[in-house]
């Protein structure tokens, strides 16, 4: 993870084992169930669960389909899953999702980080808080 690109992190503690949760990410039948937002009647998923393998998650909306594709970068069951994520909402640009599963007693904490990948111009730049900087500036009175 780089600090130079826009990054967001969400967490949730779930009463399940890390294995149960991890497997739900790579099983197409499971994905079809939980990768279906409320306003989407049906989701189809295809998964080639190996490093370098690809996935395709299609959320069939009533008016249009929302296609999400990506490539698995790291599959470390049941601790860590890293894959690229490309969709209309990423402007068909490759973004990176890292999911970490941490056992906490009877529960497992799922920590998901979604980041924009730096382009070549940005790749060799310095460290700094991109997200906090833009959020702060976005609140600025100017503009």
């Amino acid at each position: 993870m780089t600090a130079d690109t826009p990054t967001l992190t969400v967490e949730r503690e779930i009463e399940a084992t890390a294995e149960e949760l991890f497997d739900a990410w790579l099983d197409p039948e499971s994905l079809a169930v939980w990768m279906r937002p409320g306003d989407i009647p049906r989701t189809d998923a295809t998964v080639d669960a190996r490093v370098g393998g690809t996935f395709k998650i299609v959320m069939h909306g009533s008016e249009k389909d929302y296609v999400h594709t990506g490539t698995y970068r790291r599959i470390d069951r049941p601790k860590k899953l890293v894959f690229t994520w490309v969709s209309e909402a990423t402007y068909q640009r490759e973004t990176l999702v890292t999911v970490v599963f941490q056992r906490t007693g009877k529960k497992t904490k799922v920590i998901l980080t979604h980041e924009q990948l730096p382009d070549e111009a940005a790749a060799n730049s310095h460290r700094g808080g991109w997200t906090s900087a833009i959020e702060k500036l976005a609140e600025s009175k100017n503009g």
């Binding site: 130079d4 826009p6 402007y91 979604h114 976005a138």
Partner: protein, 119 residues
């Protein structure tokens, strides 16, 4: 926002000096020469940074006679912040759905196990 514009924006704000220039302009408009004095970099280097910020639509330049006055345009940053917010909500909802899915799966297994026991 288009793909190209997003790239320009991310490229523009990936550099700490450019972020510092934006932060400086958020406080007050400034001339190019004033910015060059404020930062430990050459006038030429300052101009290059400002050009990148202008291309990304983050800085407006107003030419008044010989003065070039720069001001911040934060609107594109709000687009980037909106992208982050959209996906934050998306993943929060998906993790909630994942929670519901594994919980239901466990309940199903328990019910099946109990059913078997009764038989």
């Amino acid at each position: 926002m288009t793909h190209g514009r997003l790239d320009l924006l991310f490229g523009a704000v990936s550099d700490p000096t450019r972020r510092a220039i934006l932060a400086r302009l958020a406080v007050k408009n400034a001339r190019v020469t004033e910015l060059a004095e404020d930062f430990p970099i050459s006038l030429n280097s300052t101009s290059k940074h400002i050009k990148m910020l202008e291309r990304a639509g983050l800085v407006h330049r107003l030419v008044v006679g010989r003065d070039h006055v720069l001001s911040l345009n934060a609107a594109p940053l709000r687009d980037a912040a909106a992208w982050i917010e959209t996906y934050r909500r998306f993943w929060e909802d998906r993790l909630a759905a994942l929670d519901a899915f594994v919980t239901a799966k466990r309940a199903g297994k328990t019910a099946t196990a109990k059913g078997r026991t009764r038989k």
